[in-house]
Symmetry: C2
Subunit: 114 residues, 2 copies
């Protein structure tokens, strides 16, 4: 499929998809005229990118993760990085949960003092 279709189906912008290619995340095949063509599997990858971005990983980190994601094979360094990111995200969940509690307290006070 071409870039517009992938954009609408995956819910990201055309610009974002070209950006992913710039970053080495999602390199498309090209038609003779130079237009990008993506396989169906690109959809899944874009979803993975969104998850990772929303988890606070950088493009560079995600690029480093792609070999693992594609082949399921890793070296020692990659496994360390995987755990590092995992732990970072986990800590972030903890932080967010803490923020959530604080907001809930404020909300509770707001409800009893209307």
């Amino acid at each position: 499929m071409r870039i517009g279709e992938l954009a609408t189906r995956s819910g990201v912008s055309v610009r974002a998809l070209r950006y992913y290619e710039e970053q080495g995340l999602l390199i498309a095949e090209r038609s003779i005229s130079g237009q990008r063509h993506y396989p169906e599997t690109a959809l899944e990858k874009v979803g993975f990118f969104q998850d990772m971005y929303s988890a606070g990983l950088t493009s560079k980190r995600i690029a480093e993760l792609m070999p693992c994601f594609n082949t399921g094979h890793t070296d020692a360094e990659q496994r360390i990085m995987l755990r590092t990111e995992r732990d970072r995200i986990h800590e972030r969940v903890t932080q967010l949960t803490s923020a959530l509690r604080r907001l809930d307290e404020v909300i509770a006070v707001a409800d009893t003092h209307p």
Copy 2:
């Protein structure tokens, strides 16, 4: 206390504290010579800011929250905003948890295919 002490005690930079003041979040009293002086309660507020920032709220949003945080009183509009932010954070926790699961899968594969 002065800005340097608050910075070290709260773990944020002096620049950040001045930035908070720019954003209307934490306005210090001034000595005659113009130096900022903070009460002890500033520590708690800075912690609150950090929680909110880390939860993805903007300075503007946090500024809107401060009346609730300070006085415990809210109007209808503020209560709506509180719930909106709360829900946003909750959704983000869900996203992060999803990202965490994906990473865990990759890690699991990595461990069984060393």
